[in-house]
Symmetry: C2
Subunit: 206 residues, 2 copies
């Protein structure tokens, strides 16, 4: 998230999926060896972000994401739908449930990633993810709209925000709005790392 | 600042100067011994926030704030203007320059705090504060609108944000908006403390 609250910049498009300036939000991540390894690349560095990423990944059994994070666009899939931003061997290595309004057959990729397309809402996606995860955690990866829906519905236990010293001015806002004002949080951890601060919160129930 | 970006909640008024829920933003501060001492109270605790507050205060020679932070309201001062929220012995102990549209004679309080009312804009207030500070730093205390104006004008060297795990939903937004999107920041420090994370950034010039 940018310091002014956006997880993508303005004017998101198929050509510019993170919007104007949005790529900067991932600068801290793309230099990490742990991230490059997941993407099949060598090199990269190890710093205070490494342990945060490894710990966040450790017990995740399934992932939920929005249609835009899978592959962009809001229309139907078309007669020859493509397989998303992530290439033949996506970096997820787990069952992934994609929230969309457009039905599509499941998609099995290399490296253990499967995409299942869910058209009947966030509760259905969560139930399917839980069944697939076999007791492990579910990660809501994004985008902002999907995370907001789960938070407003009281379905999140923890929030992990990677806060980046960038001001985007406009774009996809993660928090804010009266529908989230009832959410109560407890700060669990703040980790200073190069170009980012990792903030972990527990969502307080009741 | 709340995690969703507000330095005061919605519906600010003379009765509720920090807006709905806004008092929570200061919970971490009001328990500190260093803060209670400045307000003439005993007791309180010392934790990781203490050093941050002491360091932020150390070299400040003058303070700039908006009319609402001084004493609320946007109308003229009236025939018997009151002396603000802060009592006879305000916790500033320095020259304070208050941005307002309504002229008023300077006000000398106990404990070294003087309020000077500036009606000709942020650059004038900064020049007056610099003259009073004799080479020491100037702190822009708030509110959000005043901080935004100085940031947009390229007049800030550093930003210190006390990020609180609260969602206010609406209110006085500190950052965001295209007029601040050109601002470039470098993360200097992140300090985890009970109920707050202190984030310090340098504003990158040029």
């Amino acid at each position: 998230m940018s310091l002014d609250g956006f997880t993508a910049g303005p004017d998101q498009s198929l050509e510019n999926p993170l919007g104007v300036g949005g790529m900067q939000l991932h600068d801290w991540l793309r230099v990490l060896a742990v991230w490059r390894r997941e993407h099949g690349d060598g090199g990269g560095e190890t710093n205070a972000s490494t342990a945060v990423i490894e710990e966040a990944d450790r017990n995740v059994g399934a992932i939920i994401m929005g249609r835009n994070m899978f592959g962009g666009g809001s229309g139907p899939w078309g007669t020859e739908p493509w397989n998303g931003w992530w290439g033949d061997d996506p970096p997820f290595h787990r069952p992934v449930f994609v929230l969309t309004h457009h039905p599509r057959e499941p998609l099995e990729m290399l490296g253990g990633t499967t995409f299942t397309f869910v058209t009947d809402g966030i509760h259905s996606a969560l139930a399917q993810a839980q069944a697939a995860a076999g007791g492990a955690d579910i990660a809501i990866s994004g985008g902002a709209g999907v995370a907001r829906q789960y938070l407003a519905a009281g379905q999140l236990d923890e929030i992990l925000i990677h806060l980046v010293p960038v001001l985007l001015g406009d774009g996809a806002r993660l928090l804010g709005g009266p529908e989230l004002a009832a959410v109560r949080l407890e700060q669990l951890q703040a980790v200073e790392a190069p170009g980012v601060t990792h903030l972990k919160y527990r969502v307080v129930r009741g």
